[in-house]
Amino acid sequence: MNDVKTGRGVATRRAVLGSAAGLIGSAVLPGGWIRDAAAAETYPALGTFPEGSSGDSVFIGIAVPRTGTYAVPGEDELKGYQLAIEHLNAGDDLIRKISPSTTKGVLGKTVKFGVADNEAKPNTAVQAQSRFISQNKAVMITGSVSSAVAVALNKLADREKVIYLPCISGSNDTTGKDCARYSFRECFYAYTAANAISPVLIKNIGRDKKVAYLTPDYTYGHTVHQSMEEFLKPGGWTTVTNQVCPLGASDYSAFLLNIANSGADVFVNINFGNDAVQSIKQAQQFGILSRQILAVPYITPFLAREVGPDVMQGVYAATDFWWTLQDKFPLAKMFVEAFDKKYGYKPEWGANAAYLQVAFWAEAVERAKTFYPPEVIKAYEAAPTLQSTVGEVAFRASDHQLVRPVVIIRGKKKADMKGTDDYYDVLEVVPGKDLMPKPDVLGCKLGSYT
């Protein structure tokens, strides 16, 4: 895709001749020396650098689930990426408000991208992104709905020295024990979600309640379940059952019967994607929703559109972004309008996360003035305050997690909805800094830059 104009040998010789002094000064650095066309400085070859950025365009590898249980949030996410890249290449106002160093493209280069279906499976995702890295010399890879995918790509990114940006990933592990030097997460996650929604639940539902969990059987489900138990404990809430179910089940009757017979007051459903739609719809058929209060600590995009307001009314949920935040944040308004104009619907939170991830990355590269990954990472780690669709945010250098608010919403009655997409009341926008764990709590140890 990207024709590499500078042969490695030629560039090396030229670089050596051109900056002999610099070479002597930093002879400890490994690798052959190559002159970066964009920056005046010289950096050694690393990952897809410099081949990936030697032409007049750079390539981003996008892999989202387009089939299977996470296909719906995957498609929304993809649209967010496409809009962001279009805005980058055009130097649109919105992206320049989030990435003020941007003029047009990234470091003057047009951004191109490829899309693959990761099927929400780690193996498929790693294969697809490895292809983008080896064949297209991707300077950045991105996309996830499953945390299993995000964690696998974190490892790939550290190994291949190519920056990876997870999109939707709710597991504590993504910026916890499986964090990566080459990975940065934008969205909220188990710990912050549970920390934000638990006080709201205790305040509105009362103390000493019994909880039944429905938990998808992988890193995301387990960490959300753990975090919810941790933060509901102060309210005296106890777990009566935790129904661990496989990813992509279509029938939840056995699990739901156990929940129906558990005597729980509150039903915490951690399922995501179509699993959330199926299990909530079936829970209603079993009469569970009329006897237990449903709470969704990590809400899947499009849930209300799919199960309808009759099911979602009164349901408490935590989310990353909801479009009516446009009344509160001017950038949200710009984003929602641009997205709606292009795609004909209000963006869900995956699209917002994708857009922000691309914009933040562009800002980091512009600040680094090079695509050399360690410099880009350091630009991220300098943790500048960034403008976003949810107000001011900043990455945390210690675990590469964005400190950002969590939005608590509650399903509206059909009669109270103003328009077809107005499914939720925004109850609270809980500031991120109060929600974050101390950096070492989740076990993050970042790897090496090179």
Partner: protein
């Protein structure tokens, strides 16, 4: 959640799950038994039956019309698929048959995704079967009880066709020895076409009957296909009674294991399948020595 009420609820639920699995599996096993083709597009046909029913429901708002349309349309789809694709693969090696039906499944799923998108579509249960039924301690969705009834009736109907009609006799003879049936001067070609149509109908019928229970998505047949294979292996490949018994066994395993530890319910299903394969490789009702 070990308690008597929950145990009995789960036993009943296993029955309801099992009836549906039995219905889908019987389609798969009849096709394999007669034609020798392992139809990996069976899950896609289950899904397609649901979507055709959905379209019919959207047009008429009638549950009965939706079920009829879903089932009958799948007979047509089955016959067309058999004539256009499958019949050219009877003489080909099993790998080719697996590849072509697997590919067919992908094409069907992605065509439906193209037409309907990945977001789920919903068919409500008929008004007379919505809500919950309370039988003592058991609170169960009324429509799921209806599904159990419908599946049972459909299984009996399939049994009658297979064991009480001339077509059924030919099909069963074909399962035993299709070469011999051919030698007897029976038009095996036409029987094969009909069998594929009936197999597809069983899948499509189950798909539309199950549609109000789930939210219909293009991927809804994927997990079902895997469970269906387990059922067929447990019951004995090619055996109709095996598919029925296997379906109920699988349903009970899924339900009862979930009571002790839900994360093991899928594991148990495969563990039992493995056990059957070790102790009785041909399956519970399978005939020894048949491929």
């Amino acid at each position: 959640m070990l308690s008597w009420p929950n145990f009995l609820s789960q036993c009943f639920n296993g029955l309801a799950l099992g009836a549906l699995l039995a219905l889908i599996s019987s389609g798969l096993t009849i096709i394999y038994g007669t034609l020798g083709v392992l139809n990996l597009a069976h899950g896609a046909m289950f899904m397609l039956g649901g979507y055709i029913g959905y379209e019919a429901y959207a047009a008429t708002q009638s549950y009965a019309v939706a079920v009829l349309a879903g089932a009958l349309a799948m007979v047509v789809v089955g016959v067309v698929v058999e004539r256009v694709i499958i019949r050219f693969f009877y003489a080909r090696p099993p790998e080719d048959q697996i590849l072509v039906t697997f590919g067919l499944g992908i094409v069907i799923v992605e065509l439906v995704r193209l037409a309907f998108g990945s977001q789920s579509v919903q068919i409500p249960p008929p008004a007379w079967a919505s809500g919950v039924t309370i039988i003592g301690f058991l609170i169960y969705p009324t429509y799921r009880i209806v599904v159990l009834g419908i599946a049972a009736v459909a299984l009996v109907a399939l049994y009658l066709v297979l064991y009480r009609t001339r077509l059924g006799m030919v099909v069963r003879a074909g399962i035993e020895d299709s070469g011999m049936v051919d030698l007897l001067g029976i038009n095996v070609d036409r029987v094969f076409m009909l069998v594929f149509g009936i197999g597809a109908m069983a899948a499509g019928f189950a798909g539309i009957v199950n549609a109000p229970v789930v939210a219909l998505t293009p991927d809804v047949g994927d997990t079902i296909l895997v469970e269906t294979f387990v059922v067929v292996v447990i019951g004995g490949v090619g055996s109709f009674p095996g598919a029925v018994l296997g379906g109920f066994i699988a349903g009970e395993i899924l339900s009862l294991t979930s009571m002790i530890d839900p994360s093991y319910s899928q594991v148990m299903l495969f563990a039992v399948m493995t056990l059957v394969l070790i102790l009785r490789p041909q399956g519970l009702f399978g005939l020894e020595g048949r491929e």
